[in-house]
Symmetry: C2
Subunit: 305 residues, 2 copies
């Protein structure tokens, strides 16, 4: 059997969540010299699985992004689109998917050197967008997002073979400790925690609202937080956060009046495209997980003001 036919990270086939060591590097470029961010940031990312870059986008750029989001959320086409996910039990728009394809402005953000250049460096080669979305966690009613490793989902449900993808979130509102910020378990990206149980058919639509399957077990989460603790990402608008595809993360609800808005891009390395044989079920729609367009991003410095 050729190497590519092996499932190196089995999950959702077992009754016991036995931890496995990560088999892939975290930073895939061999040479730090080409890094677009300071070396200590890269080292922090390697060790803890994430890094925060305040001020990557200017206030005026954030204003441009916010105006476009307000326009999109009010647009009847967006509201009726299957690519739009609502809050559980409400009509509020929670996420709009595939913004790198459908929206000219957010397509330019996707290939902007300031984020895509960092992703290309971390992943050590050409990249494309596996998934993109804008997240709008409203004030007062924003619900929690339970703990998960993105890679575990992308591997089980999309067939992504290896840990060679990275997520980038651009904060467009202030993220405080109290408005449901991203919580990460630092260093958890070095373990693969398989999930117990099978994936139901058409799981994706519910799972984007509320995770119930494909979630890590309580004991593993206790063990991870005992060992490594929990860190929250806070910062002003314009902050960018990069986190490894396999880091355990989640967020609590948001009863404050302050919405939490961000742009979210998942960069995958072009040698790591999904394999059908790794999926146990029918594929998720391609607005959630890219399945046809794997051309490398043409990265360039974009201007938004």
């Amino acid at each position: 059997m050729p190497a590519k036919m092996l499932d190196l990270y089995p999950t959702r086939h077992t009754d016991k969540p036995e931890w496995q060591k990560r088999l892939d590097p975290v930073v895939h470029s061999d040479e730090l010299s080409g890094s677009p961010v300071p070396h200590e940031k890269v080292e922090g990312f390697r060790q803890k699985g994430y890094m925060v870059l305040p001020g990557l986008y200017q206030e005026a750029e954030v204003a441009v992004f916010r105006a476009e989001i307000d326009r999109l959320r009010a647009d009847p086409l967006t509201r009726s689109s299957e690519k739009t996910i609502r809050e559980p039990g409400s009509e509020s728009v929670r996420s709009v998917f595939a913004i790198h394809r459908d929206n000219p402005l957010f397509a330019r953000v996707a290939r902007d050197e300031r984020i895509a250049g960092i992703a290309r460096f971390l992943l050590g080669g050409d990249i494309y967008i596996h998934q993109s979305r804008l997240n709008f966690k409203p004030g007062f009613t924003g619900k929690e997002f339970y703990w998960h490793s993105d890679f575990e989902t992308w591997h089980a449900e999309d067939g992504m073979p290896r840990m060679r993808a990275v997520s980038c979130s651009i904060l467009l509102t202030t993220n405080n400790v109290y408005n449901g910020p991203l919580m990460l378990i630092p260093r958890s990206h070095r373990h693969f925690i398989p999930c117990v149980g099978e994936t139901p058919e058409n799981h994706y639509r519910e799972s984007l609202k509320k995770q119930e399957y494909g979630v890590p077990d309580h004991k593993s989460l206790e063990e991870l937080t005992d060992r490594y603790g929990i860190e929250t990402v806070t910062g002003p608008p314009g902050t960018a956060v990069f986190f490894d595809s396999n880091i355990m993360h989640g967020s609590n609800s948001n009863i404050t009046p302050m919405p939490r808005v961000n742009l979210f891009y998942v960069f995958n390395q072009t040698g790591n495209i999904p394999e059908d044989f790794l999926r146990s079920r029918s594929p998720r729609p391609d607005f959630v997980a890219e399945r046809t367009i794997f051309e490398p991003l043409v990265i360039q410095r974009e201007r938004f003001i």
Copy 2:
């Protein structure tokens, strides 16, 4: 009409949430000289509506309380009691009420000088327990508690006439920013924000799980947080928090593995007992709001180890 027949804080009778000035003092003792806590703590309480006292109980005392709580939560009598409130959609015990009456240990905590002495000072006279409970916000599934002023509820649903009550929470686990800690809007206690709409009959049982009626409107909450911000209470086990009956507060959900456990006592001044005419509906059960026993607490220094 005698003064006592007036409703000084009308709420739930109106369509418009018109703010009203607080008519009562915050600290009811005239002389700071008798204060059991440093004067700057009292001043902080007066201005912001709450104060945090780390280390009021020792680790060994907390261990005694925790052991009793574990015993209680496992006790079939507790599990089947009407005084026990469960998490929405789960069998987990969320709160056990009237612990100052039913539990000898927690009755002694209620009259312990370390908390009751402070309450008596703040309220400027004899006090009794209006409500007590242990709160157990479990890990992984702890739900949010929406914004509210306790006084608004006690006034509308129990008939408490004036703002002359204080809540004390004793933290029995570490409260971090990420495990659903108490959030307060400092200085909000100086405004009375009436709630719109009527109180449904038998509202209390659902409201203890999830607030849907008697909640402040979005616009008032935005105005309050714009003016005053939000503060979270964090601290190690043994920390005590005193907060004014009218301060706006709430908490987010808790997906972390760390439960949030506390003892909660509401002290009311014996001149401020509930009046039937102020309630619009039938009274809540007396394990939620004391209606018969108004004898002053006999406050003394208690020992738990």
